[in-house]
């Protein structure tokens, strides 16, 4: 079993340590003060009074104000809290693709590294990080924690993952959406291969639960430019019965067209749902990709 240093190289750590993760929007939490949470809860900084409605916790009633006004008000505080971030790592078979131009990294490896970087970065900021690994179904769910020791837990879990089996992203996302109780940041590390419409519905489910969704779409360079020349039998990583012997050169253009269509569709769907879609290519260094994204993210904000 690989230990945490194996997963996260020293270079990666040093590169990430200077960066600050700034969530696009203020989410709940208060601990480090950088992230403003719109959630009101038990906190020190008063925010507002609001009239009591049945169902509110009786403990939140401002009895002093009741004494003055004879009306029931609820006292609300601004809550400074950690970002509750859940990493969704796709462990399906299609993530097992290992191109020749990515230093022997499969997409899955790359996703694992990226997930490790992100979790290390966020735990550094005392944000809570959770992890969901899935293929056809949820493999493992680690709820978000902000403790530094939690990192090792996540790392261990990540290192243990091997790609395999088919994916049905939409189904799994629905399940996950229903499992994550509190709103937070959902970071999906996946290739998102599947039916876009259903996928969008599932992502909309996240948005419906008012999660902030960031998708790191992992691409192998081979998948983006289809560089194959000689006769090739393409065997599906997810379904061993699917095999096609073709001359890839003849298919390249059509493939690229299809790919573009797919990505456009995905981009359109994400922007409609206000989901940030970040394509990552496995021949880019993991930290570079993250740093680039964080820079974009800060500028957008």
């Amino acid at each position: 079993m690989p230990s945490a240093p194996n997963v996260l190289s020293a270079g990666d750590v040093s590169r990430l340590s200077g960066l600050q993760l700034l969530a696009k929007r203020v989410v709940e939490g208060f601990a480090s003060g950088l992230h403003r949470s719109p959630h009101k809860g038990l906190s020190v900084e008063f925010r507002e009074h609001r009239p009591y409605v049945p169902g509110d916790d009786l403990r939140t009633i401002d009895w002093k104000l009741f004494g003055k006004t004879d009306r029931l008000y609820i006292r609300e505080y601004e809550e400074e809290t950690n970002v509750r971030c859940t990493l969704l790592v796709d462990c399906s078979g299609s993530m097992g693709y290992r191109g020749t131009r990515s230093d022997g990294l499969s997409k899955h490896d790359y996703a694992i590294r990226t997930a490790a970087c992100l979790s290390w970065l966020m735990l550094q900021q005392q944000d809570s990080v959770g992890l969901v690994t899935f293929d056809t179904a949820i493999r493992r769910y680690i709820p978000p924690r902000a403790r530094p020791r939690h990192l090792k837990h996540i790392m261990t879990e990540l290192a243990a993952q091997q790609p395999g089996a088919e994916t049905s992203l939409a189904d799994v996302f629905h399940q996950i959406a229903s499992r994550i109780q509190r709103r937070g940041l959902v970071m999906i590390l996946s290739d998102l291969f599947g039916d876009v419409d259903q996928l969008m519905k599932a992502l909309a489910h996240f948005r419906h639960a008012r999660h902030e969704v960031i998708i790191f779409q992992i691409w192998d360079p081979d998948e983006l430019d289809f560089p194959f020349r000689q006769w090739t039998q393409f065997a599906s990583l997810e379904n061993s019965a699917q095999r096609h012997l073709v001359d890839p050169a003849q298919l390249r253009k059509a493939y690229l067209q299809k790919l573009q269509e797919y990505r456009d569709q995905l981009t359109r769907g994400c922007s409609r749902n206000r989901i940030t879609l970040v394509p990552l290519v496995t021949n880019q260094p993991t930290a570079d990709a993250l740093a680039a994204w964080l820079a974009i993210r800060r500028r957008v904000r």
């Binding site: 078979g93 299609s94 993530m95 097992g96 693709y97 290992r98 997409k107 290739d191 291969f193 599947g194 192998d220 998948e223 194959f228 000689q230 006769w231 090739t232 039998q233 393409f234 065997a235 599906s236 990583l237 997810e238 379904n239 699917q242 096609h244 012997l245 073709v246 001359d247 050169a249 003849q250 298919l251 390249r252 253009k253 059509a254 493939y255 067209q257 299809k258 790919l259 269509e261 797919y262």
Partner: protein, 769 residues
């Protein structure tokens, strides 16, 4: 279609390579565990069928590329039908060497251009080819005895040829070339005609002869390819600039030493410009005689008359030259040969001598033959007469005479008859006239002898009223016919006989004015005509012949049906009696001499006396040449002494030696190599020259050529290929022999295929999603 490098065509097997690569690729494919299958699968399923076809097309093109490359490297050659390669060719070159080919051309003369073209073609012939050359000028003549395979020799000999011969006999030349071709073994036969295509030469070919020739050339077992090579045509609108002396007319009658004679020259202009004063000069043996100026219109003719005389006997060359700067200088002069007679000895044998002047039978005749001597005029008579009675006729007396006249001779002795017969057969000229003293019976048996004797005809019935008093002893066998006409006159008609042709001009006298009172009926039967060459020279208006001529051996016999004195006619009283007798006797004297003005190709014959022993000394020979020909001392039949040879110089200056042969009393030297117009000079053993002027058709001087359209028509008639230059032909021939290499086209096709492959590959890669 054939391949020059057939081995390389095996390279076409390389088409297996793309096929193998294809199969190899398909079998040695790479397997990729692919993630984005949902993208790939839809693309594959949508294009599966099209991909398959595209692959097939691409594979086909890729297989074609090495195959086409191999085909290209094998150097394919396109051949129409059978490819002959370097198979030997039988080539007959028909070369026009008529003098019109001497016309100036941009590249020298037309002839030079034609020869160079022929040499180019011959130089490119394959090994083992044979060449025959036919020269068309004058008479079609093969240049070589047999077709030659040594092409270098052919080229060398061709370059030595000179034009200048007479008009071309094109049909004959083509037939001769076809004959030669048929004798030559080869796979291909070609006939290359190099000519200037003068309409006069070629018009004889149009129609039937052309069709026959074409049929002949095509129907042979190996068809002959006929090639017409036309030189550079003149500018179509420009008239070729040429002026020619078309003809020279010399007097018909024999001319003696010191006699003045006229030379009529006829000039013709083929030029497009008028000449106001063309300078025409006459030279005699190279010495200028006179020069006149004459105007010559464009396309017109002009006649110039010269008068001339010479005091030297023998042959003389008369040359009329016109000074003009034209395309063809050769025909600006024309020569003719005149043989001036020395004194001709005439032996008059008088059968009816008389003591009074003009009483004897030959008195009128002697006067008529030597008028100047008789009239004591200091002029030279052509003839010299000697009158003897029949008894004095000896063999020796005959030897010195050129002409013998038997005038009213009753009979001769048998030896005399034999001598006379031998003398005539050996080339003597004999005139026999009738008279009242003839022994008709003796004449019939000895001299007529049923056609075997000297007489052209037996003396037949005596006709006419006559003068009874004069007829002392009328022949019992031939009494005057009371039923016949009393007198007769000579029919005035145009005569072909050289002696009587003089009187074709009425200014020279009218023969029909004479009244013939008595005459013998001479029967020129058909049998005798054919057997003995008898011809009627003049006839009477009674229908009876007056003058019969018979060639006997090398001699000639003239038989006059009436007398030469005034007994039977008033001929001697007529003004034309002198010229008539002069003409008759002089013509008889020179009739033996073969003509000196010849048309090209006819034999030039010189007759001369056998040299005597004294002729061995050159000085004596020269003296003999200046004086009369020496009487022969030895008989030419003496075979012990070798016959002398005669030197011949032809117009080109080439010297050759001709053997002589015995002909009657003479020796004869003969050459038939007179194709080339000009002056031939024979130097006889006694040192005397004998010139021959060989003339040819003046139509050759018309330098107008067939225009391109007519040339096309001609080529079409002959089913011939019309060439404009030797290079054109060589190129076409090379293609015909070796075919046309098409590798550049194949290479282009290959490049096209390669481009197509790239384009298709690009295009197929862009199949719809």
């Amino acid at each position: 279609m054939s391949l020059l490098n057939p081995l390389l065509a095996i390279g076409a097997g390389a088409l297996l390579i793309p096929l193998l690569i294809h199969i190899f690729n398909r079998s040695r494919f790479r397997t990729i565990e692919w993630g984005a299958m949902h993208l790939l699968e839809s693309v594959i399923s949508q294009n599966r069928r099209r991909l398959r076809i595209d692959q097939l097309i691409l594979l086909l093109i890729r297989c074609l590329i090495p195959a086409v490359l191999a085909f290209c490297l094998a150097r394919p050659v396109l051949t129409g039908g059978g490819l002959l390669g370097d198979a030997p060719v039988a080539l007959a070159v028909v070369l026009d060497n008529s003098y019109s080919m001497e016309a100036a051309d941009p590249g020298g003369t037309r002839f030079n251009g034609a020869v160079e073209s022929a040499c180019r073609v011959i130089g490119e012939l394959p090994r083992g080819s044979q060449v025959a050359v036919v020269l068309t000028g004058g008479r079609p003549t093969p240049l070589f005895d047999a077709p030659l395979a040594d092409l270098q020799t052919v080229i060398r000999r061709l370059r030595q040829q000179k034009p200048g011969l007479g008009a071309s006999d094109i049909p004959g030349s083509l037939e001769l070339a076809a004959d030669l071709l048929e004798s030559m073994p080869a796979v291909r036969r070609q006939m290359l005609v190099l000519s200037d295509y003068q309409p006069a030469d070629w018009s004889t070919l149009s129609g039937g002869p052309a069709a026959a020739l074409q049929k002949r050339l095509q129907s042979s077992d190996i068809p002959t390819q006929l090639l017409l090579l036309a030189g550079t045509p003149l500018q179509p609108d420009a008239r070729p600039d040429n002026i020619t002396v078309e003809s020279l007319q010399l007097p018909q009658q024999p001319i003696g030493v010191g006699q003045e004679f006229s030379v009529q020259a006829r000039l013709k202009s083929y030029s497009g410009r008028d000449l106001d004063a063309a300078s025409v000069a006459l030279t005699l043996d190279g010495q200028p005689v006179s020069t006149v100026q004459t105007a010559l219109k464009s396309g017109g003719t002009a006649e110039v008359l010269f008068r001339c005389r010479s005091d030297v006997a023998g042959s003389h060359v008369l040359t009329v030259a016109v000074t003009a700067d034209d395309l063809l200088p050769t025909d600006n002069q024309r020569s003719a040969v005149i043989d001036l007679l020395d004194t001709v000895r005439v032996l008059l044998i008088d059968g009816d001598p008389g003591s009074q002047p003009l009483q004897s039978e030959t008195d009128y005749l002697a006067v008529a033959l030597t008028p100047w001597t008789f009239g004591r005029v200091p002029l030279t008579d052509l003839l010299q007469t000697q009158v003897i009675p029949p008894a004095q006729l000896t063999e020796a007396a005959l030897q010195t005479a050129r002409v013998v006249v038997l005038a009213n001779v009753p009979r001769l002795t048998d030896p005399q008859t034999e001598w006379l017969t031998a003398w005539v057969r050996g080339g003597g000229s004999l005139l026999i006239s009738a008279g009242n003293r003839l022994d008709i019976e003796w004449h019939r048996t000895k001299l007529w002898n049923d056609g075997a004797g000297l007489l052209p005809s037996a003396w037949g019935e005596l006709r006419g009223a006559g003068d009874a008093g004069q007829a002392a002893t009328p022949a019992p066998a031939a009494p005057a016919s009371p039923a016949g006409p009393r007198t007769a006159r000579i029919v005035s008609q145009r005569s072909e006989h050289p002696a009587l042709a003089f009187f074709n001009d009425p200014a020279n006298g009218d023969l029909s004015t004479a009244e013939i009172r008595r005459w013998h009926v001479l029967t020129a039967t058909a049998a005798t005509e054919t057997q003995a060459g008898t011809a009627t020279a003049a006839i009477l208006d009674s229908g009876d012949p007056l003058l019969l001529e018979r060639r006997l051996g090398d001699g000639v016999v003239l038989q006059l049906a009436t007398a030469v004195d005034t007994d039977w006619s008033d001929l001697p009283l007529r003004p034309f009696y002198v010229p008539l007798m002069q003409q008759l006797v002089a013509t008889l004297a020179v009739q033996i001499q073969p003509p000196r003005n010849l048309s090209a190709g006819t034999a030039a014959v010189a007759l001369f006396y056998p040299p005597t022993a004294a002729d061995a000394d050159p000085a004596v020979a020269a003296k003999a040449a200046a004086t009369a020909p020496p009487p022969p001392q030895n008989t030419p039949t003496d075979t012990a002494t070798p016959l002398p040879a005669v030197t011949l110089v032809d117009p080109l200056g080439a010297r050759s030696t001709l053997p002589s042969r015995v002909q009657g009393r003479w020796l004869a030297a003969e050459t038939t190599a007179t194709q080339r117009p000009g002056i031939y000079l024979m130097t006889l053993p006694d040192g005397r020259p004998a010139h021959f002027a060989v003339q040819t058709d003046a139509a050759e001087s018309d330098l107008t050529l067939l225009d391109p359209q007519q040339q096309q028509d001609l080529a079409q008639q002959l089913n011939a290929v019309l060439l404009t230059s030797a290079e054109d032909w060589l190129e076409a021939d090379r293609r015909q022999r070796h075919g046309q290499e098409i590798w550049p086209w194949v290479l282009a096709g290959l490049l096209l295929l390669m481009c197509l492959e790239v384009v298709l590959q690009q295009r197929f890669a862009g199949v719809t999603a």
